[in-house]
Subunit: 400 residues, 2 copies
Amino acid sequence: MSTLSISKRGSEMPESPIRKLVPYAEAAKARGIKVHHLNIGQPDIETPPAILDAVKHMHLKVLEYSHSAGNESYRKKLVQYYKRNHIEVKPEEILITTGGSEAILFGFMACLDPGDEVIIPEPFYANYNGFAIEAGAKVIPITSSIESGFALPPIKDFEKLITPRTKAIIICNPNNPTGYLYSREEMETLKEIVLKHNLYLFSDEAYREFCYEGTHYSAMLLKDAEENVVLMDTISKRYSACGARIGAFVTHNKLVIQTALKLAQARLSPPGLAQILGEAATDLPVDYFDGTRAEYKKRRDTLVSRLNAMEGVFCPNPGGAFYAMAKLPIDDAEKFCQWLLEDFSHKDQTLMMAPAPGFYATKYLGKNEVRLAYVLNVQDIEAAMDCLEVALKQYPGKQL
Amino acid sequence: MSTLSISKRGSEMPESPIRKLVPYAEAAKARGIKVHHLNIGQPDIETPPAILDAVKHMHLKVLEYSHSAGNESYRKKLVQYYKRNHIEVKPEEILITTGGSEAILFGFMACLDPGDEVIIPEPFYANYNGFAIEAGAKVIPITSSIESGFALPPIKDFEKLITPRTKAIIICNPNNPTGYLYSREEMETLKEIVLKHNLYLFSDEAYREFCYEGTHYSAMLLKDAEENVVLMDTISKRYSACGARIGAFVTHNKLVIQTALKLAQARLSPPGLAQILGEAATDLPVDYFDGTRAEYKKRRDTLVSRLNAMEGVFCPNPGGAFYAMAKLPIDDAEKFCQWLLEDFSHKDQTLMMAPAPGFYATKYLGKNEVRLAYVLNVQDIEAAMDCLEVALKQYPGKQL
């Protein structure tokens, strides 16, 4: 007889690693402490009023299901958006998804069976774990090091990990949590691996526009790897519209997109109101990103130079996205981040960061690293860095 | 070495059964034929302007992620909505989901492992198949018959199907595709089964307000089955807001809701703009449903009486939702539905219906049955029934 139990998959699903610290942050606020949130990728940048206005001025009598692949008008506009980014795709090679999250889930579900393996350079976006567990797939981490600035590990390290069950490599470019921007050469290396071993290359390009050093080289540009590459995209960070939940699943591989479409049909359609907003975003002036990019660069420069000026701290300069990983002279990042919220304040302020172990699949890695999201204005970043500087002097678990 | 293939799960995912007929409908329209769409559950009822206005008048600068469980203000309002429906729940027993679809997926993912079995009275909502395949679960159909009006099969039929792998029973009440409204006695029977065999009872109550005979008896009202019952809900049909993609996952079972919350965290948050709309819907006047219910009842009465007046046609009177299943004097519903679009017209009109085999898991069942969604106004339903009446006389595959 069966018992009333949850699924093995359900019990294996990780809790949000950041969530554990939330009660401590709430308690700090209750004590009157201002908490600078550098822990999550929720930008403070305004959502462009023009795209909110598109929703406010909508004309519809019935909010009907859209096509399961998303509105055709929107997919046609996205073709133009990608063209401006030198990526050639057709409307039928695009599925509008419920956030980038659903695009990732569709990729895992369409391409990986239970027991199949996906190689991911670590540290990586923690939710890849959840989607892998939902699909029954196994995450095989390949470690990139803070000393190299989180560059792509050498090809021989990948080849050591490839087994008959390996089906895909997933990268995030520019990277969350490291901010690393893969070079064209590194992308060509990945192409070589996926072609040689017949693997999918899932490319999460959520932060495409946020590159401060060098140019973004999309996986969609890799010649001869058209069948291998699946682009997972989202408007969340691009237009500071995280709550909209609009993304895209893009591939030239016909069988993969047909399979993802069946997954899309099961859930009927992506969010309708947010598709109006997403479509309007494709009409924003081309120079829209200049402003946000300049703002993020200024924040990055402030954050990174302040960090590296602290004794025993090392923060490689991230080429893109809006994250930085820093190595701190501490015993344990989780303890330190909790201590910052529970036992520390400086001028009635403190800061919240994401302990790095949540981004590593290999145990004990990242123990003295943290991720900082530079989603606050320069003044607040300065104040947060003042706190960190003082904290590192006071922290009992200091290790130089 | 692995090959670049899609997953087994992906290849098993069913195509939308209705989709196959779409090219024929498009071709008919291209020939100037008006097609009456009785094939899908997309109501023509206006989305209440007040809830669209709530979105149009939103005040926000940054469209941020919401809580993964959905906005607390909305969950608190839903508590009141459920209270008006005699269902007592707390805000922390509710997760806002991306449509009812995601609530169903969360239930399957949280409670069923690959190889586990879920019993479903057939005919059933075809997308349950897709969600079961995504979770690796096996659908075990239990046949309800058109002769009995699709009443719940007897308890002994259920017990014959229960194995050590059985984890859940899923019902849709009132039912899509049959329109059947389960009685309180039938709900108590289900309770008896799930308590005796320690199963989950997933209750899809998307059409709760659309009951024309008798009263809806929610699975959430079943005493002593609080740990077993998971309510899967949606605003799609209730407020004619299918495109919003807002639903709810509701249960008193703490472990199940904690597990579903982890699935919710992986995808970050439900659609933000649509949550504004959903929350506004909880403020609609209590008599809002009187109008839509009266309209659907009029349509149902027209449809059912017209169908039963045709020679050789039998349509049990559905107690709820906005679907009816009819047995027709034909050889093959798929052929007939295609013929209606391809080879038939009456006064330059025809109708599109959903062939019933797509709603049965048991092969060869429903071969001479169709599902009709009464989502059109009475005049169009009359015109569609005129077409069907003439068509049944002309159809070469007629079988009396």
